[in-house]
Symmetry: C2
Subunit: 918 residues, 2 copies
């Protein structure tokens, strides 16, 4: 859409090569669709003028002049001058004031305005046009000499900073102007500039001019025209200042976009009690409620509202203080929202009772508001369902699902300096509780009824029960897909991962963060949505949507946001073509995911069940067995336990497909690490610690990620696969008999790199299935497929598909091997890579289309060629990432699978992907 408009705008310009776009309340040269050349602010000012709204007259100098300015090292196109002179004349006519006229001076503001908002990044000059003569005119016209001289003082200061580049002298902390003001205040014995008299201000003006002379060798420019040229050049120049460049790099804004410059007549909200200024939203930006929402201050300038020195009033109060302006503002806001078909953020000024609109733009909003506004606007026939779906950032749904900090307590904590550090926002939501440094402590503390936060260097599967007992997890190492992050998201726990400034000593039960010592049992608060870590407690509350989905909230009438959420999700399901499954290892996770709308399980990691109760003992016995017979003895103990696990999952999923992965991690992950535990295990196994240690050492690997794991285990020890298959099919048969609902298991063999591996493992599965079905006198439909998680599996997918009935892309591991980056070690340099623009995004968070995606494309194409209609899915963490879901849609996958708490996000993202694709 955008490029077409740009082209149209350009072709207009070819017909009449404008550099300057004039606007006033009679109309405008530009319009809202010309953001590319007018910037966002300029385009919307033009649009408001076209709608006949009271905008102070002015003009926008196009972004193309900025590009010209940059490329020519600071010169302007030759025709610019003439265009500008005409534009200023029109402003003068519109207002009946004159630029440089000592009696009735026209003053202007000069502001930057890029295609996208870059708040605070570039320079602004206000009150331009003031000089020793016009200041008197302003004083007369406003009847407020102090106001006029203070405006002049401010202008001198601002201009000298922005245009003349006069900063602090060497060795000084503050600019020479600030120092002058300090001196003056001291001399007068006052605390603030407001308390200075007119004469003081006049004296300051004189002193400021001397500073300019001293520092630049020239007089301060008295000519308003010179001032204007200087300010325009400075704004264009500021496009390439360090701050702006850094901001653009961070936000991926191309440097060649340039900024526009908006020159607008000054209006003053500080001209007296019938003047004022404010900001407003056409709906409540926090809740999305349909009500005019805003704040204002009488007798004040815009910066006073922002600065927060005086507490502004709620917009409703304006009705009394300036009834005419308020009425007009109400009409305008309604009209603007209807016109833009979106919630608007407005800036206005009232000068002597007269309303001026200074800005309008699409308003920022919370996740709650985002959902509610989109859904409400469909009801109001402002937008269509697809537009509503495209309006909501899927990630914003997190806010509706996660507990949040009490806003007041949070801002208090910030003020008190309790923010300790920031890590990766690995599991969204807010949690507060007592710190525990071991899983066992966490379980014990939780049993005593406390909320618990588990703090570890990095978690391991041994910590699972401790993580389960905790409300939040904090780690010092590991990235967005580290063990802690993965498990936390799956469990729906708050998680801050890789907070490298935390020096954790689990043995001593203490952690030091930037000098603050946190001991076991101390209160701590984690914001997993931002990655922030606070000392002390901050109270949290559970999300309404969750209350409702989990049935607790269903008794009472659903709130507006819950209703909106439900509607949006229904629409999403109608539009999406991708299925959405969940990664879940426990029946309760399955139930959560179903509540969130999951249509099946895309990944059950059988080994995640291994750490519960007596299972781990049998698992360890199996691992440390000396021979096949010993392994089979241990597996016999494990069989009924695994069967029970599977029964629970099949029952919970009520006939939905369930993908079960056979044993995947390297065996040493299941072994204890602490000497005491090792001793206990040795005793249990009836061997010496030395014998056990030797066996354990032999299992150690240099690079476990590339070691003896995945189907390699099933190949070396076929009895493991056999036992898992038996547990699975027996469970499926039992549930089928008991519940009369047929489970649909899909057995997934991990880490396949050759077709032959899958063949050998699939043979075992089919053999066991036949045996169990005969014995149980019932058959259950099932599939055997593979996790595609190695480059070689993608490259030989054609061969693999001759055995595999489905592929599920394990994009975590696939990303690791495609990039040669371990997700656990990548934390050392991935942030730096993103900063240096080497990575557009963390490839473990957002699927890498040119690399990993190209491999997936090869696999999909070859796989489909070898087996028509082969089922294709993704079960890596990317399955819950909106950008990655678009890639999956483009690849034509059948479904994505993600952790339970990301299911709603995936549903919406899938709908957006389907809509974008059309």
């Amino acid at each position: 859409m955008k490029p077409a408009k740009t082209a149209r705008a350009r072709s207009n310009r070819n017909a009449k090569p404008l550099h300057v776009y004039y606007f006033d309340d009679k109309g405008a040269d530009g319009n809202k669709d010309m953001k590319d050349i007018l910037g966002g602010k300029g385009a919307n000012l033009a649009e408001m003028c076209a709608l006949g709204m009271p905008v102070p007259p002015g003009f926008t100098i196009s972004t193309e002049v900025c590009t010209f300015y940059s490329h020519t090292g600071g010169t302007f196109p030759p025709t610019l001058r003439g265009e500008m002179i005409r534009a200023v004349e029109r402003m003068e006519q519109a207002l009946g004031r004159e630029f440089g006229n000592p009696d009735n001076p026209l003053l202007v503001s000069v502001r930057s305005g890029a295609r996208v908002s870059m708040p605070g990044m570039m320079d602004t000059v206000l009150n331009l046009g003031l000089n020793d003569e016009t200041v008197e005119g302003l004083a007369k016209r406003s009847g407020n000499e102090r106001f006029a001289w203070d405006s002049y003082r401010r202008f001198l200061q601002m201009y000298s900073d922005v245009v003349l580049d006069i900063r602090a002298d060497p060795g000084e902390q503050a600019s020479p102007f600030s120092l002058e003001i300090q001196r003056k205040k001291k001399a007068r014995g006052v605390d603030s500039v407001i308390e200075l008299e007119v004469e003081d201000l006049k004296d300051l003006v004189a002193r400021f001019k001397k500073i300019v002379k001293r520092r630049t060798g020239e007089d301060f420019p008295e000519s308003p025209a010179d001032q204007l040229w200087g300010a325009i050049g400075a704004v264009f120049g500021s496009w390439n200042n360090d701050r702006a460049i850094a901001y653009r790099e961070m936000n991926r804004i191309p440097g060649d976009w340039g900024t526009a410059v908006n020159v607008m007549a000054m209006v003053f909200g500080n001209m007296g009690q019938d003047s004022g200024t404010g900001v407003a939203f056409t709906r409540d930006p926090a809740t999305g409620e349909r009500r005019f929402y805003g704040e204002f201050l009488m007798n004040a300038q815009g910066e006073d509202v922002v600065a927060g020195i005086r507490t502004p009033d709620q917009i409703e109060k304006l009705e009394k203080l300036s009834p005419k302006a308020y009425k007009q503002l109400l009409r305008i806001q309604k009209k603007l929202e209807r016109h833009y078909r979106d919630m608007q953020d407005l800036e206005f000024t009232i000068e002597n009772g007269r309303l001026f609109m200074l800005q309008c733009r699409s308003g920022k909003r919370t996740g709650f508001a985002s959902v509610r506004i989109a859904v409400d606007m469909v009801g109001e026939r402002l937008i269509s369902q697809t537009e509503a779906l495209m309006r909501v950032d899927p990630e914003a749904l997190n806010q509706l699902l996660q507990p949040v900090f009490d806003p007041k307590q949070l801002s208090a904590a910030k003020k008190e300096g309790r923010l300790l550090t920031k890590g990766l926002n690995a599991g969204p939501g807010a949690a507060s509780g007592k710190v525990c440094f071991t899983a066992a402590d966490a379980v014990a503390m939780k049993a005593k009824g406390h909320e618990v936060l588990l703090v570890r260097e990095e978690t391991s599967p041994e910590d699972i029960r401790g993580m389960h007992a905790s409300s939040g997890i904090l780690t010092a190492r590991g990235g967005m897909t580290s063990h802690a992050a993965l498990v936390a998201r799956q469990m729906g726990k708050v998680c801050v991962a890789g907070a490298g400034e935390c020096e954790i000593d689990c043995k001593k039960g203490r952690m030091v963060v930037n000098g603050t010592v946190v001991k076991a049992g101390d209160e701590l608060s984690l914001n997993g949505t931002t990655g922030e870590v606070y000392s002390g407690s901050i109270s949290t509350r559970q999300s309404e949507v969750l209350d409702y989905l989990f049935g607790k909230g269903r008794k009472k009438k659903a709130s507006a946001v819950v209703e909106a959420y439900e509607k949006l999700m229904t629409w999403a399901d109608k539009h999406r073509t991708l299925g959405v499954r969940t990664n879940a290892d426990q029946p309760d996770q399955c139930l959560t995911a179903i509540a969130f709308g999951a249509e099946g399980v895309g990944l059950t990691r059988t080994e995640h069940m291994f750490f519960e109760g007596s299972k781990i003992d049998a698992v360890r016995e199996m691992i440390l067995a000396a021979d096949t017979a010993g392994r089979e003895r241990a597996l016999k103990k494990l069989l009924p336990l695994q069967r029970k696990d599977f029964e629970g999952i099949f029952k919970a999923m009520q006939g939905r497909p369930v993908t079960v992965r056979t044993l995947d991690p390297p065996l040493h992950e299941f072994l204890p690490h602490e000497p005491a535990q090792i001793k206990a295990l040795a005793k249990e196994l009836g061997v010496t610690v030395k014998v056990l240690q030797t066996k354990m050492n032999s299992l150690q690997e240099f690079n476990p990620m590339l070691g003896h794991r995945g189907c390699r285990l099933g190949i070396s020890f076929p009895e493991i696969t056999r036992t898992q298959a038996r547990a699975l099919f027996e469970a499926a048969c039992n549930v089928a008999k008991r519940t009369k609902v047929m489970p649909r298991p899909e057995i997934m063999i991990p880490l396949v790199s050759t077709a032959r591996e899958l063949e050998l493992q699939a043979d075992i599965v089919h053999e066991v299935a036949a045996e169990v079905f005969t014995r149980k006198k019932i058959s259950v439909p099932y599939l055997v497929g593979t996790m595609i998680e190695l480059p070689r599996a993608c490259l030989t997918a054609g061969e693999i598909a001759s055995t595999a009935e489905f592929f599920s892309f394990g994009t975590n591991d696939l990303t690791q091997t495609t990039y040669g980056i371990s997700r656990d070690d990548g934390g050392h340099f991935i942030p730096e890579y993103i900063e240096k623009d080497i990575f557009q995004a963390d490839p473990f968070a957002s699927l890498d289309a040119p690399g990993v995606g190209r491999l997936m494309e090869i696999a999909c194409a070859d796989g489909r060629r070898a087996r028509r209609g082969i089922k294709l899915g993704i079960c890596g963490e990317h399955g819950g990432d909106p950008r990655s879901i678009q890639v999956c849609q483009d690849l034509g996958l059948d479904y994505v699978s993600c952790s339970p708490y990301r299911v709603p996000i995936a549903r919406l993202a899938a709908a957006q992907a389907a809509i974008s694709k059309n």
Copy 2:
């Protein structure tokens, strides 16, 4: 070629559907090209007959009958019987004897004969046709009653074993026949069967028959026809015995090939002093010398020669003992070699002065002989240069280059049971010396003038100096491309890696291997060509070729094998299109490689120089520096040392291209591991051990192979790349000035996964080059490229090629990530994978064409599209592997690079690849 012949043979058979192919000295139904249906032995017997040579009459039953037999569960095609009857009649006519005739019996041998030789794997029956009547005829005709009855006894025993399947009774160690013989010997008070009288043998025959009756319930078959059918069925059946299946799996022989059966008239070399038997080669199989070479025994059977009970005579002696037969044999061997155009291995028997040829086949030979024969035969105009090149297995060249054990001492060591264990044959050659368990000990021991073997669990870069001091390296862990194996091959050291039965305790300075204790200082011997480890010393000698290449041998006239080697290599260079470079880190390695014919350096691992002298201190200081300034201070110390390293290499390479890789391994690899060393380092750096340990811990990684290494280091610490580039360009300028030969550096950035990484690093290199060239007032031509060693680099090669002037495939790492297998950990399961036919070969030894090769293909195609004529090479270990070199040829690479000692192998393999491609 083969399939076409098979087709022709089949179409012949369609015309006349033969199961039985007759042959005698008048002619044959088959010929040498029909190995698929006649097996190797049958085809060559037919060929000899067609050449009119004296072969005992007989016939071959085709492999297709074997397949029929297997598929039908042990039945024969209906037309077989008639064909066989006719064939036996023809044999009877040819010899004037009759099958089953008591006066003049025809006896036959029944032997298997598959397409390829499977020595000892299947069963054979001799003397078939004997029974209570024919034995008398044999006695009369031979005039040797004892001979006849002993033959009968042997036949009964053999047939009962092979056909009737009569083995040891339960609870007995030996077969009932052997037990009978033992009893008889005891009764007679003799030591050997030879001492038994005719009557004893007759008694044994009677007892044997009783055993058969007892065990089978039936009489021993007296009818020669029944005997023959039984034997044929048994031979076909033996195709599927466990031994044969195991052998086929090991040697990748398809099970559906089947075996042929050869039925041939028996001739007897043990009929008296004018009879004899022997084996011979048309040239010396050890040296390749052109002389008739063989051994024989008069009055003996074939098995007597093989069994080694009597010492056979050299073939020349036959001239005196059987002048007519000898003359005929000389003619025949000459004719056969000329006919087959290759050295032949012959078996013959002389019966009463009459010569019979029993077998001929292409003769096995040593590497020395292989080279010499191929080259000589070109001189003799028997074969062409390309044929000669294709005849020599490139791996066989190893024998010409490596030291070898003294054959006598070796066989003595074997007899004495000194073979301790077998590991991977990771570095070819033989070495003997005193065992050292630490690098420091090895250096010290070597300094005392001893030959040293370094024994380690696994080596690390810290061991480099110790490896250098050693003649051989033995490790308990790690595979064919483990650190030990890689470095050993590069240094040309003998290496046995991954000898898992060695329990090594370096601290205690002892190792236990299958119960034998080896202590520091004990003598040990390693055969890196076979992987064998022997206790005690076995003396070795240096190869002649090496003496010659290194100039020591040039004073005297080159020996025949050296001359042949030189010629073969010249031809190889003429035919190959691939360049051959070497992987070398030191000037002496460069010189070795040049002697071996290297045309450049394909990989210099700068970090391999880091462990020498004071360099490691500077490196460690750099790694542990707290900030950029600290790192730069340390790098300043490193700069002159690196420059000197590079100068040495550029000087040695005399203008040949030299690819230098910037720092690659994870930094923690350079840090000490032992507490004492850590303490010393802390002292040197002026920090506490605790501080040092904390810093070291922060560098630890879960999967270092996927961690902070390669160009990721250069991105994080640009000053490292800058210093290395500076050292390199300064060295190049210095050498250019001093030697007037222009070095040709090619700077290679490792582990690139995105184009941007390479851009950032290449910018630094170009910047430094410009700066150095200006300062030194001389320019050196250079290239900047990248190692393609990650799947993502292959997948985005098009983008990368916009910066890269060359690609060098790092197939070690590329294989690791494509398969998701660490080469260090793969040892746990790769051998099992090969055994289970999941891998055709170790992918780290032989390039995986469908997976890794497909990625390389993508990279080559996209790379060439983006940059015409981009230089493409390979520097992984595969660069020295003949099968992989074929893949490189097919991909159209410009060069391969390998360790110095594999350069000749690569040159020959490249020639073969080019010839095969045409």
